[in-house]
């Protein structure tokens, strides 16, 4: 098994708050890793650091064996690591299909053309395929602000996948989506991801969703990783039950997503 993402004693402090403490993580190619942890545990901070959005206070990040410390988010994206956001990051004054078309153009070249039209027939056709693949073809010409939360999340993830990343980091893909829709949404995402053969790490508050899709779980608590391993083992861990999942079997409804 080859390691695709590795962090070595990664630390992040915001003043007195320690958002990441000596994080040592190795993610192997092809894994689907779930990240759990209560609010403020440092999950988003971890994603922000490995994608270049936040500068770690100390430590080392390796992507495909090469250091990506200090690289910009765009350099890291181009290197093959894409992400989605806890709150979908889209172009609010554009339609859903235009959002995808912009992503397609960006994937083709880092230097957009000055005169040839962005909305070429080829890109429109490809964007329509993607709309279907993600089951959001009904919203083709809607402004993204007029689209339900779940569809917005899907568009956000679709845009991340358009660049054909080797690794995809999803920050709470199902947050803000009703419990019944979560599985549909994740099925759609995981189907798309499998077709692309992408390594996935996703943050999730709902343990049922976690168990259903992942081969490995990282449990965060207060900036530290308190457990790392197979889902059954991690979720049965006493510390995880005390600090993260809150004795799930008796509270099947799970945590509120935020």
């Amino acid at each position: 098994m080859t390691c695709i993402l590795e962090t070595r004693s990664l630390n992040k402090e915001f003043g007195a708050v320690i958002a990441a403490k000596d994080l040592n993580v190795q993610i192997n190619k092809g894994e689907v890793v779930g990240v759990i942890g209560s609010n403020g545990a440092g999950k988003t901070t971890f994603i922000n650091m490995v994608t270049g959005y936040l500068k770690p206070t100390r430590g080392e990040i390796l992507f495909n064996g090469k250091s990506i410390m200090g690289h910009s988010p765009r350099a890291i994206t181009r290197a093959g690591m894409a992400r989605s956001f806890q709150v979908a990051q889209l172009f609010p004054e554009m339609t859903v299909i235009d959002n995808l078309i912009v992503a397609l153009a960006a994937a083709e070249s880092a230097r957009p053309s000055f005169l040839s039209p962005l909305r070429s027939d080829a890109r429109i056709a490809r964007a329509e395929e993607i709309l279907k693949e993600f089951g959001v073809e009904n919203y083709r010409d809607s402004l993204v602000t007029a689209v339900p939360q779940g569809a917005r999340k899907l568009v956000d993830i679709a845009m991340a996948l358009i660049g054909n990343p080797q690794m995809l980091l999803l920050d709470e893909p199902t947050s803000g989506v009703s419990v019944d829709e979560k599985t549909d949404l994740m099925d759609t995402v995981m189907n798309a991801v499998r077709q692309h053969g992408v390594t996935v790490l996703f943050v999730e508050h709902d343990m049922d969703v976690v168990e259903r899709y992942v081969s490995r779980v990282l449990a965060f608590y207060s900036g530290e990783i308190i457990a790392d391993g197979e889902p059954a083992a991690v979720l049965a861990d006493q510390q995880v039950r005390d600090l993260v999942t809150g004795h799930r079997p008796t509270t099947k409804q799970g945590n509120g997503a935020s």
């Binding site: 994608t51 959005y53 910009s72 988010p73 765009r74 994206t77 181009r78 894409a82 992400r83 990051q89 889209l90 172009f91 609010p92 004054e93 554009m94 235009d98 912009v102 992503a103 153009a105 960006a106 994937a107 070249s109 880092a110 957009p112 053309s113 000055f114 005169l115 040839s116 039209p117 962005l118 909305r119 845009m159 991340a160 660049g163």
Partner: protein
């Protein structure tokens, strides 16, 4: 090169303008020339507004375009109008490539104020330059077009008008394509969500940089044409009120269509001319109320009058 509907309409309107130039009185020709030349500067402002940046210093490039034309003729023997205008654009591009390195680091009010600062620096330098006539500026040398010298007065005015219309058409078609091309749309995307653009693997800064430089070239062309039309340049071109006027016209027209700045500049020129003529001391107030009315009733600018009618027809 296939032309779309907008481009054909623009071409026909330009043709009508050129023909109109043969029958219209001189004062009107002059007013339209200045209005259209200013509209080119405004196009530069609008290009940046689309990307979310408001330049309160576009007078910098207006002035660079004008002074390059003036100095080229007076000091370097460049009398050909096209060569002088091209040189003005070239100088503006070089300056923008330098300033852009700094300016594209800033957004919002910081960008606005910094762009203003640079134009005021140029203003200060020109005011201090005795050789360039200080606050009075200097006259533009008689110029030629492909070796042909239009007769002074009406003849040269008519020629500048035609050149301005043709430049306006070329720029309008290019900008129309530019706004629909990768860079144009993605500059709007930068305005809407810079973080997402970055995470698509693009550099918002370099996109804004390219846009800034392109806008400078367009604005300098407007400055050069103004210099040819008025036969005079002075430091006022770089003064902040001049830049404010360009922002004013940009808001008046709105970002809806490439034709909007032209319409707005013409409306602006008429309102100002008549206001000065009939109510000499209140024209600023009239312009103020005009802008107020536009912002309240037509927040997307005068162009929304045109596009509103269109949607009405379809419904």
């Amino acid at each position: 090169m296939r032309l779309d509907k907008t481009e054909i309409s623009l071409g026909l309107i330009a043709l009508a303008c050129v023909l109109f130039g043969f029958v219209s009185p001189g004062w009107l020709i002059f007013l339209l020339t200045i209005a259209l030349a200013k509209a080119l500067v405004v196009q530069g402002v609008v290009m940046q507004m689309r990307s979310g940046l408001v330049s309160f210093g576009q007078g910098l490039f207006y002035c660079i375009g004008g002074y390059t034309v003036g100095m080229g003729g007076q000091f370097f023997g460049i009398h050909d109008a096209i060569a002088a205008l091209s040189l003005g654009m070239f100088v503006a591009i070089v300056v923008a490539m330098l300033l852009g390195l700094l300016l594209t680091r800033y957004r919002e009010i910081f960008f606005a104020m910094l762009s203003l600062a640079f134009s005021m620096i140029l203003f200060g330098i020109l005011v201090k330059s005795q050789e360039l006539g200080s606050t009075d500026g200097f006259n533009v040398h008689d110029w030629t077009l492909f070796g042909w010298a239009p007769e002074a007065g009406a003849g040269s005015q008519h020629t500048v008008f035609t050149m301005t219309v043709v430049s306006g058409l070329i720029v309008a078609v290019l900008i129309h394509r530019y706004t629909k091309a990768g860079i144009g749309v993605i500059c709007e995307a930068v305005r809407e969500n810079e973080v997402r653009v970055e995470y698509l693997g693009l550099s918002p800064r370099w996109l804004l940089y390219g846009n800034y430089v392109a806008a400078a070239a367009v604005s300098a062309l407007g400055g050069g044409l103004t210099a040819l039309a008025t036969g005079h340049v002075d430091p006022e071109m770089a003064y902040w009120t001049t830049s404010g006027e360009f922002v004013f016209i940009a808001l008046l027209g709105g970002l809806g269509h490439v034709a909007a700045p032209f319409i707005a500049a013409i409306v602006f020129s008429f309102v100002r001319t008549y206001a000065i003529e009939f109510v000499p001391h209140t024209w600023q107030m009239i312009l103020g109320f005009t802008l107020l009315a536009v912002i309240i009733f037509l927040p997307k600018g005068l162009w929304s009058l045109v596009s509103r009618e269109k949607t009405g027809e379809r419904a």
